[in-house]
Symmetry: C2
Subunit: 745 residues, 2 copies
């Protein structure tokens, strides 16, 4: 392996004592041993294993409650046990609706009855398992039978309704049709309902994942004309997990809400369809032509509607409780068994689910198998490692959330970090997570070799980023090889760990050279994945080596490799962002008022078209950012002091290290509050949350940012105070750690 | 009419003596008289006239050499004579090829023979005039009979071939297919030929002017599936006009080149087709999927090619000389008959040509008729006004160029300015031109009322611009209502006047709320235009009032309203741009070399795809900008001195004014050089030229800018020196004017 320069940011001075690289948090000698063990670890990871496991796990559709789902969980428990783990099924009973009736038809002169059917592809036997497949539907849609004219709402996010309103179009009493993409799908019916729509259709436009992007399956990877995207529309930005048991595990004895009391189940019927089924519906739309940014890739002129002909949508569901089968496998730590490093990936899928989720799952299994081998050869991680394979991620992060809620006290006490993966494919490392782990993770990335090029996966990701950057960014990036972690929003099983329990988390995966487009359809299967996802499972192996190193180093470090300066810098950047957001909004609102006062919006618009730009927003007040600024100032000082002392921490007595470690990983808990975010108390983290109106997309400093965005300035001010207090508590942990280090040095 | 604030930039101080607005260049009393006459002028302009003239002029196809073309010219001469003008036909004999044979077919397994036919539309009688229509073709294509595989080249500009080369695709010996748009059409076959292609097909993608933009004709305005765009592909960036007589008028006695000697006729066969005809060709393409920015709006996955099946293209043309009929109508000036203000619009079309060009032509006719009425009522413009209706604009600006070349000595002596129009439609004023006319033009815009809103056309354009602007631009524009003139590139009859003869020119037209999409097809006709272009001809009337004021004020001003500070500021901005262009290129080339040296381009690219980013450009040298900077410094000082003196100029004796006027309009001549631009000496203007590789698109400071862009740094340095010398000569005019004003005050 080629030697790579250490990234040269602040912590490097503190963490590297010599030219010879020492792993962050390890003594020089332990670092050497760890690096040796990692070579053995790498040698255990066999692409053939990943291939065989994927073949078994994706042999049949394996959604929640399916025979194959249970068989997969049992299969994994057996494997983990063979590999030397204390493995067991952790079962819960959860609400998981499946469709009984699905009818979508265009009435009027040119009637059309939607097929709602993904046909089998000759030569791909998986697609022919018709009787085992869940039909195309959106889980947690309402039951309903509605008939109304149709309106096109683009991506179906709040801004789209603002644009419609400017054009005099109201969706009250209408059925809306939205394109997939631009937000998490559950946002679309939620916002439609908020605007008075009585039904919602979501279709996959070929511009997003069909023929516009590339050749369609089976010639190429992309979504064929009848392919549709299944998926949950539960209001997970309020809370994920079993909707009947918010905040607690859905054990047999748990107190359950009545379904009528649940706020996160959609209030209107929602159905996903293919673009073949969408075409006649879109052709039926009258009214104005859509704004240019709203166009899709179908061969028609997109109109806003409403349609003259009404659309009839009828949906009925089985609202049964179904059993969940999580797999939980532990390898107890020798020195600190009550410090847990948790690694997870879900195992349920919408249909056969090769890419989503088995591509990530088989990497995790390879890690677990390799660690089992290491254990047999004498490797003894200091901390407990817990491998999890979650059930029910697709409908609502059910398995991870129920398990995390069920064990929340223990997890808050013991969990050092949670490392997640999900889909994986050929290409570049992608990573989001707690920024305390950023420098540590960068060191890991130096040590994993990219299978296609032979350089480190870090070098390759850096190459991609700098080549894609514009002139200014290229200049800034040249010579600075830090890979910045993204912030965690939502979309996989890390949510309960970081956002509910305040456990430092990461989400890892490779991609960018794989070709997808068949997400949540019957075409995401072994045949497709091994042609277009990761032929030969080279990047499955790379993920196992990456996530494996993250897990093993966290589990075996003398002192946990949490870094506070990276965290400080990130939060300081977020703070600058929300300040700018507020200032820019003030400028924009003022400019709009000025322009409106001089009638410039009216004069700029075509008198023959109905279009009224509004300037109704009130001018944002100035907010008091000083509590947050002061907390950040204190944090900055603490990070400097801590960085200066950390270099010697690995030399401290074991007991002191233990105390220090406890402070280090529990500091993250102080970033949560008990009251949580406004109107969604389940989300307790003050720095990271999924957006209330984005779903997947993260909102950092969520209460402040969303308060400003939504014009709830009082909430934003409360948010500033809340974050400031959380950072004070965080500073208290740091201060204790600094005192401890000073006392011991 | 609502009163509008004067725009408050520098010249306003010099030109407005009182709160009561005085027209720039007029004494207060002459200004008052002029404003009164303009009211009478406005009252003469009747939408019904424009309608009736368009109906006559577009009754049949009226391309060069057609019976209707000659009939139109005769009709206009008669009208101008009736209105009191000295009107005549100015005829020239020019090369104008028309098609004899057009064959395009896809061979191979799935053969397809292109229809190459625009069908008639029921209910639109104009489209049924089959025997009179020119077929779909590109004038000045080569004769040819070629068979070769097909390659997709996006817009067919040099950057596109760079992208293809990075992907290992060579067009040598191939036929290329390019989308219309992104450059003037003639660039596409020229660049294809430079890269070794043996044939070129240009098609109208529905993303550009078809169903993606809006409903197609006859339901909506946009190009129907079989519509194709005719047009010239002569290499007009080298020189326009009759290719056989460059630089001189194509009179009967002119010395003509042999056709084989002509460099501006395309070297390969070129054919425009509809997207219906393009579809099977595009479907035949194999190889990689195109980059995202290259996609069109057809329902297929766009591939780069080459196609396995060859394409056969056979074209033969009649290479006859055809007669041109320009209309030239003069109204001699009373005080300065040897100062000419020229107003022109072409009258030839590809087919019936309602929008292009008759919509602009009928506005010019309305101006001429109204002026005739004013003349009868006693209005006597000081200068001579010349109304022109050009023939042969479509093939190569034939009529205007031959006339301008034929009369170049007289024009350089007499022409004060040339005011052009072409297509016109509902919406906002659009204007490009010599920046010496910018403040004058802004004052005109204050005085024309927008027909739909009742505010000035300036206010309306300002509203459009500021509403479309981003935050920063909005802030800068708020309270600053100057409408910036665009720079003149190519695309209509102003070229010979400004770029060959150095006559200050403008190009005017309304648009932005009209719907087009049928450019150069049989569907651009009276039926289409009166539905989608300018129903009721309100904007034809607005154009007549705008261009009429420009013409009349120029013709009747006591002192010509040329402004040098606006010109200085513009050229200073262009200079800053080319300096930045050079610096940015240096930075980019250096960064590319740095990235390439560290193998980052290789590491960023997908090893399974053929893609090689190159870093072969040599580092741009530093150029000596000081001669240009010094000339600009001098110009700045002169403009300040001139502005301070100009306020009194209208009070000078008539003879002094005459001397001053002569200096003012001839200063523009000094911006031309006798040697012209490298490899295209016909283009003599040092500030404005059409781009060698853009065609329509302007390149300001062309020799400097194109030298930098094309890596011809020696030429760029020569360009700096040339522009500096031109500005010195310009400064000499200004210095004379200043001395004259000082002496007289």
């Amino acid at each position: 392996m080629k030697k790579w320069l250490l990234f040269s940011c602040s912590y490097a001075l503190a963490f590297t004592a010599s030219a010879q690289k020492t792993l962050i948090g390890f003594t020089a000698s332990n670092s050497e041993k760890q690096v040796e063990w990692e070579k053995t670890f790498d040698a255990q990871i066999q692409a053939e294993d990943l291939d065989a496991w994927m073949k078994f796990l994706t042999a049949h559709p394996h959604h929640v409650g399916s025979p194959q789902g249970k068989a997969n969980a049992t299969y994994m428990v057996n494997l983990f046990q063979q590999w030397g783990y204390q493995a067991e099924l952790a079962t819960y009973s959860v609400l998981f609706p499946t469709p009984k009736t699905r009818v979508l038809e265009l009435l009027g002169d040119k009637p059309y009855k939607a097929k709602l059917e993904e046909p089998a592809i000759p030569g791909d036997p998986y697609t022919a398992q018709k009787s085992e497949q869940l039909p195309t539907y959106n889980a947690f849609s309402a039951d309903g039978d509605v008939t109304a004219p149709l309106v096109f709402v683009n991506r179906g996010v709040p801004d789209d309704y603002d644009e419609l309103a400017k054009r005099g179009i109201d969706v009250k009493g209408k059925i809306v049709i939205a394109k997939y993409g631009g937000s998490w799908r559950g946002i679309k019916p939620k916002v439609a309902y908020e605007h008075g729509a009585i039904g919602c259709i979501i279709y996959s436009d070929p511009a997003d994942d069909g023929y516009v992007q590339g050749d369609v399956y089976p010639k190429g990877a992309f979504r064929p004309k009848d392919g549709a995207q299944r998926g949950s529309v539960m209001d997970m930005p309020v809370y994920p997990g079993d909707p009947l048991t918010p905040g607690v595990g859905s054990t047999p004895t748990a107190k359950r809400l009545d379904r009528s009391e649940v706020k996160t189940i959609m209030k209107i019927p929602v159905l996903p369809i293919s673009y073949e089924d969408a075409l006649p519906l879109l052709q039926s739309l009258e009214g104005d032509v859509v704004p240019a940014a709203w166009r899709g890739g179908l061969p028609l002129t997109y109109h806003l509607g409403p349609s003259k002909a009404p659309v009839h949508l009828k949906l009925q569901f089985n609202w049964d409780l179904k059993p969940l089968y999580n797999v939980v496998a532990k390898l107890p730590g020798t020195e600190m068994p009550n410090e847990w490093v948790i690694r997870g990936n879900h195992h349920d899928a919408w249909v056969n689910g090769a890419e989503d989720p088995v591509s990530g799952l088989v990497a995790e299994m390879a890690e677990a198998k390799a660690l089992g081998e290491l254990y047999k050869k004498g490797y003894r991680p200091k901390r407990t490692i817990v491998y999890c394979a979650w059930d029910g991620e697709e409908p609502a992060l059910l398995g991870s959330t129920e398990w995390a809620e069920d064990h929340q006290a223990e997890l808050q006490q013991k969990a050092v970090a949670y490392i997640n993966s999900d889909g994986n494919g050929r290409g570049f490392i992608g990573a989001s997570g707690s920024h305390t782990l950023e420098p540590f993770f960068n060191q890991v990335l130096d040590d994993v070799v990219d299978p296609q090029t032979g350089v480190s996966v870090k070098e390759r990701r850096y190459a991609k980023d700098i080549v894609a950057a514009n002139r200014d960014a290229r200049q800034k990036m040249f010579g600075n090889k830090t890979i910045k972690l993204g912030a965690l929003g939502a979309g996989s099983d890390y949510s309960p760990f970081i956002q509910h329990l305040g456990i430092a988390s990461m989400n890892l995966g490779f991609g960018g050279e794989d070709e997808a487009g068949v997400y949540h359809s019957i075409y995401d299967n072994y045949t497709h994945y091994t042609r277009f996802g990761d032929p030969g499972f080279q990047y499955g192996v790379a993920l196992a080596k990456t996530a494996g190193r993250v897990t093993l180093r966290l589990a075996n470090a003398d002192v946990l490799p949490f870094d506070f300066s990276a965290f400080y810098k990130t939060v300081a950047d977020y703070t600058a962002e929300v300040k700018k957001l507020l200032d820019d909004k003030r400028t924009d609102v003022q400019l709009k008022k000025d322009l409106a006062e001089k009638k410039l919006f009216v004069l700029a618009s075509d008198p023959q078209k109905k279009y009224t730009e509004t300037a109704n927003d009130s001018l944002p007040p100035y907010l008091n950012f000083s509590p947050l600024d002061n907390s950040l100032l204190q944090l900055k000082e603490n990070t400097v002091a801590f960085a200066a002392l950390y270099g010697n921490a690995t030399q401290l007595p074991a007991e002191t290290q233990k105390t220090l470690n406890d402070l280090l990983f529990k500091a993250e808990r102080s970033l949560t509050t008990t009251k949580g975010l406004p109107r969604r108390p389940w989300y307790r983290h003050t720095i990271y949350a999924p957006g209330f109106y984005t779903g997947y997309g993260v909102k950092t400093l969520p209460q402040i940012r969303e308060g400003i965005e939504q014009g709830a300035y009082g909430e934003a001010q409360d948010g500033i105070d809340t974050v400031a207090k959380a950072l004070e508590a965080y500073n208290a942990y740091l201060t204790k750690a600094i005192l401890l280090l000073r006392k011991s040095s």
